[in-house]
Symmetry: C2
């Protein structure tokens, strides 16, 4: 995709083209980092791992929302700095996922071994299993740290004007703090099985709704100089969409097909993740179902049969249907906001497309 | 300390005053973060843990070097933004130490349980020991992530001019990348006992000499608008001082008094850290000593008697004396650079004071 002109905002947004441009920005940045590592006789595996992690999959949802936010606020002029700022969100997301996978002890992501598993395999030779695991987790924490530092570098070397940078800085700061607190809450509630739907929704708000949807839209809109009203409309669309998106993720985490989602459908259950789905099941379970859920969820030795039994209870208690209904309500609310949003048609259409994809996604 | 005027550069630098001003900047920043957490009904323990970690100890070496770098390059005008930029280095260092302690599985730091141990104690109730440990480590990784994000926020909200910010950004980027690669190298070589002194010195170069001394000086000097010559003189002073500083750290890690250093003097040995001290001992050990070192170093079940035996061998092989001699050479070289450095007298005196303190420190 070449640099945009104002006329583009009038026609449909080229989402695959935006995605491609974001990928090129990531590729160029990591290429320079790989060159620097070679020059300093530093290990090349870190940039290789990150490159592989970024390019084996990923929906680029946050960069897309960032660029759509720019169009929504009637951004004008050179799109390239906006694309690089959008790419910085994907690099940040790589950091978040790599650290999350260490914390959740996940074995696969995007159909591949997780970064910590790859590093344990790469450097575990001559160490016992537990030492190899610890080394892999430690090295993955560092790879994540680098992705976080580099996301920052991508942002402030994006070629944004000083005014643009000054406008987005507080939003990026908020985004980082919010998702880290969200993950912290997620961590503390994991393994503590309760029927508390409100606390599960609070984690979703910080960890997904604000982080994945609201802040990327805000950042893009702020780059275009959006006023407070435009940001408020972004929020009104983003929070229900983000909630629906995460509820779908929770359903896929339990009922998804691993060959489609690229991750296990037992990890969340084995780890004892405190999702709305689980909270609703506990709340509506009879005493036998309740006892079974408490005995099985969060058990590190969970078998496939155990996981299948949990799935049966999630369905039988109506929790699965209730979550489907919540997703439906969230997405209706998000779409409703779009009906009256003061955005150019192309931006509204793109947001509607993303909302539809979030509702029906299988990965 | 009040805002500096140019006349101060002529007299001796008030290092305790600078340190105090840095502490106030950290305190104010964390206070605002604590308020934000309260407003968002988020856990207050993260800011409390960071506050405690920062204020229970720490030499503030990096902030001091940053401010001295500013004076060395004849900085003029309001010192307050420089102090806040210096404070951001201390917040970054909190991130680095908290993550390092997780990776090294250290039990104590600054005379207190490490952050991951505190978090395991705080939230481990009702979980088995290993699960509690994993939760503590995961939560500490997140607290470190927040410290990293907040160090960035401290920097770009320091009140620096846009020109100052543009000058220091690439240096801060380099500093982060260098220390993360250094820690990565450290991690990969830990537990692999070899007599390779060169690779141990390479880790020191990235992890300490550049990170702890060179980059803080560069950042301070760049804030004052230093030219390439001034930065080169900073490097010529910084790299040997940093090497000497880390070699002293390695000696303290094996021979220091825990009640003075605030950390165990067996952790490095138990973890199998690949230090210059150990590499030299392996290189000069006879076959019995060599076998004993290989059997004991890196043994997770290392006893106090084992550690005492290793210390005996480190001394008997002459490794301890050789490291003392290397420290002496490094510091002589650093001091020699100061003799002809084109810096104001007050800055040179302060750097000389820091070099002397690094040579003789016991903690």
């Amino acid at each position: 995709m070449t640099a945009s002109t104002a006329s583009q905002a009038a026609s449909a947004l080229d989402l695959p083209g935006i995605r491609h441009a974001v990928d090129i920005a990531l590729e160029e940045f990591l290429g320079r980092k790989a060159d620097t590592a070679v020059d300093g006789h530093l290990p090349s595996e870190i940039t290789e791992l990150l490159h592989n992690f970024l390019f084996v999959g990923g929906k680029r949802l946050r960069p897309l929302l960032c660029v759509i936010g720019w169009y929504a606020a009637e951004g004008r002029g050179d799109l390239r700095p906006v694309i690089r700022a959008a790419a910085s969100l994907e690099m940040f997301h790589a950091f978040a996922l790599i650290h999350d996978d260490v914390m959740d002890r996940s074995a696969t992501r995007r159909g591949q071994p997780t970064v910590h598993r790859q590093l344990a395999a790469l450097h575990g030779d001559g160490r016992n299993h537990r030492e190899g695991e610890h080394l892999g987790a430690s090295a993955a924490v560092l790879v994540g740290d680098l992705a976080l530092a580099w996301s920052d570098e991508l942002l402030h070397t994006a070629g944004l004007s000083r005014d643009q940078l000054a406008r987005v800085r507080p939003l990026v700061d908020s985004m980082r703090t919010e998702v880290m607190y969200g993950q912290y809450l997620d961590l503390l509630t994991t393994g503590l099985l309760t029927g508390n739907v409100v606390s599960a929704l609070e984690v979703i708000r910080y960890k997904t709704a604000k982080y994945t949807v609201e802040r990327p839209l805000h950042i893009g809109a702020a780059l275009a100089g959006a006023d407070a009203t435009a940001l408020a409309v972004c929020t009104a669309f983003a929070l229900p969409l983000g909630e629906g998106f995460q509820l779908r993720d929770d359903l896929l985490g339990a009922f998804g097909k691993p060959e489609t989602t690229g991750k296990s459908h037992s990890d969340d259950l084995r780890e004892g993740k405190h999702t709305v789905l689980i909270a609703l099941a506990l709340r509506h379970a009879d005493s036998d179902q309740h006892a079974a859920l408490r005995a099985l969820i969060g058990n590190p030795a969970l078998t496939d049969d155990d996981a299948a039994r949990i799935r049966g209870i999630l369905t039988a208690t109506g929790a699965r249907d209730r979550v489907e209904h919540m997703i439906h309500t969230c997405l209706r609310q998000a779409r409703h906001t779009l009906d009256t949003a003061p955005f150019p048609r192309a931006a509204t259409d793109a947001l509607r497309y993303i909302a539809d994809a979030a509702a029906t996604r299988t990965s």
